[in-house]
Symmetry: C2
Subunit: 279 residues, 2 copies
C-alpha cells in the first residue's frame, strides 16, 4: 500500500451504468470504468496518468453496474484540495456521462477501499415472462424465459445463506478458497413487478452472485428441486444444472467499512485471511 507523508488518501464514492464498459479494471485499448476515471482524475489534478492509480472496493465485470462503488487514491498533498466531486463530474460529463462521482473525501491513510471492506451488497433484477418488458429498465434487468414461483425464490435462497464453501458457484481460480459468508439473500418485487434479489456477503469469489441467482432462479422456475440445490451446493464442484446469469442484471449497491478507529485492525485481518486477488 502506498503511504507517504506528502500525500493524502481520498475516498471516492462512485456510480456507473456498466453497459458500455469492459468492466472496472483498466485494460489497454478498452473502455473501462477505471480507465475513464483515471483519465478524468489526471485532467483535474493536471498529472500524467501514470501517477494516477485507483484501488477499488469491488471489481465489477464487463456489463455490471454500480450505485455504491468505492475506490481510493493517493494524491500529493498540495493537489488534494483541487480534487472535488464537482470538478471530476464536470470532466466526466463530457467524456463519460455514464459515470457519476457521488463524493470525494479525505480518509485516514490506513483506509483501503479493498482491504478495509467489511461487506459488499449487490442487487440483481430478473424479469420473467409474466412481467411486462420495460425498455426503460431493460439495460439493468435480466430476462428469463420460464415463469418464476415467487415463494420458491426465498425458500431456495435460504438454503445458500451462511458460512459456506461456494466452490459450486465460483469460476475456478487456482489456489483460491471459495469459503465466504453469505449474510443476506432476500427477494422482493419492484413496483414494476420485477424480482429483485439483495445479496450481502463479506466477499465473493468470481461470478458468485450471478451463479447464486442462476441456481435460485432455476429452482424457482422448476428446473431443479430444493433437494438437488442442496446437493449441488454440497458437491463443491461446478455444474451445468444452472447458469451464470447475465452481467447486466447486476449492480453493486453498497460497500460497508468499519469506523476509522478500527480500520488498521481490519486491513491486517483481511490480508492474513484470504488470497488478496479475490474480492
Amino acid at each position: 500500500m502506498h503511504r507517504n507523508g506528502n500525500s493524502v488518501r481520498l475516498r471516492l464514492d462512485i456510480g456507473y451504468d456498466g453497459t458500455d464498459f469492459h468492466g472496472w479494471a483498466a485494460q489497454p485499448g478498452l473502455r473501462t470504468v477505471q480507465g475513464e476515471l483515471e483519465s478524468a482524475l489526471a485532467v483535474v489534478l493536471r498529472l500524467s496518468e501514470q501517477f494516477v492509480a485507483l484501488t477499488v472496493g469491488g471489481r465489477t465485470d464487463a456489463g455490471v453496474h454500480a450505485r455504491g462503488q468505492v475506490a481510493h487514491i493517493d494524491v500529493p498533498h498540495e493537489l488534494a484540495d483541487g480534487l472535488t466531486e464537482r470538478r471530476l463530474n464536470g470532466v466526466l460529463r463530457r467524456g463519460a456521462p455514464d459515470i457519476a462521482v457521488h463524493a470525494v473525501r479525505e480518509v485516514p491513510s490506513v483506509f483501503d477501499a479493498r482491504f478495509s471492506a467489511l461487506r459488499r451488497r449487490y442487487e440483481y433484477r430478473v424479469r420473467d415472462p409474466r412481467v411486462r418488458r420495460d425498455p426503460l429498465t431493460a439495460r439493468f434487468t435480466a430476462d428469463v424465459s420460464r415463469p418464476i414461483d415467487p415463494a420458491l425464490l426465498q425458500v431456495a435462497s435460504d438454503e445458500l445463506l451462511g458460512l459456506n464453501d461456494f466452490t459450486s458457484f465460483c469460476k475456478a481460480r487456482e489456489g483460491a478458497t471459495a469459503i465466504r459468508e453469505l449474510i443476506q439473500f432476500d427477494w422482493s418485487r419492484a413496483d414494476d413487478g420485477v424480482f429483485v434479489a439483495r445479496l450481502e456477503a463479506d466477499a465473493y469469489c468470481h461470478s458468485m452472485v450471478r451463479s447464486l441467482v442462476g441456481a435460485v432462479v432455476a429452482t424457482a422456475s422448476g428446473r431443479i428441486g430444493i433437494t438437488e440445490l442442496v446437493e449441488l451446493r454440497e458437491a463443491r464442484a461446478r455444474t451445468s444444472r444452472f447458469t451464470v446469469m447475465p452481467a447486466h442484471g447486476l449492480s453493486l449497491e453498497e460497500i460497508s467499512y468499519p469506523a476509522d478507529a478500527d480500520l488498521a485492525a481490519r486491513a491486517a485481518l483481511t490480508r492474513a485471511k484470504r488470497d488478496p486477488l479475490e474480492n
Copy 2:
C-alpha cells in the same frame, strides 16, 4: 376513420425508451417509434408498408418515453391471427429493442386509440442537487440545479388542478383551444430520492406536461412565488418566468378508455368538442 367489413381492428399496448427516437410520429429519414413499429408490422403481416398505418393515443415528442402507449391498426381479416405480440417483439428485438409490444388484441371497430381515450396519465422524474445522480436512471430523469422544497411542490401543483385555460402552459397553435381538465397532479419520492410527478388529464395541449412541471419546479425552488404562479396561470399567455422541462424526464404511463359499450358515444363527443389535431 378506416372501417371495412373485411378488416379487423387491433389494439396495441406499447412501451419504449424514447432516447433514440425523433418522437412518435413517422418522419421521412428519421428514426421514429411509429416508423419502426410500422416496419415491424409490415414484416410480420407480409404487407407493403404503405398498407400499414397506426393511429396513436398519445403522440409523444422526441425523447419522451412511454410505458402505456396505445395505438390501433386495421388489418385484413385473414392476416389478423398471424399478428401476435410474440412475432412482433421477435422482429422488434432485432431492429428496435427499445420498443416493446405488451399486448395485441382485437377491439370493436368503433374503438379509436385517439378519439376514444378518456384520460392520459404521465409521469415526470426530477432530480435536484441533493439527490445522487444515478447513471442507470439518468436516461429518464431530468436534473435541475436548484434545491427543491418538497412541501412546496404539492402546494404549487394544487393551484393548477381542475378545468382551466392552460394557454400559459401551451406552445401556441393557431385556432386551438387550451381548455383542459387536469384531474391529478401529485408528487412522490421514488426509492432513490427522485421527485416523481403524476399527472392525469382528459387531454393536453402541446408541451403542457413539461410546462406545468417547469412552473411547479420553479415555484418549489423559490424562483417564483405561489401568488405569481396563480397570476401566470390567469394571464393565459406564454411567459419566460419558467421553462419547459426537458423531454427525457417524461413518460406516458397510461391511457384510459371506456368500456366497449360506451365507445361510440365517446368518439362522437370527443370529435365534436375539440380540435382533432390536439391530443
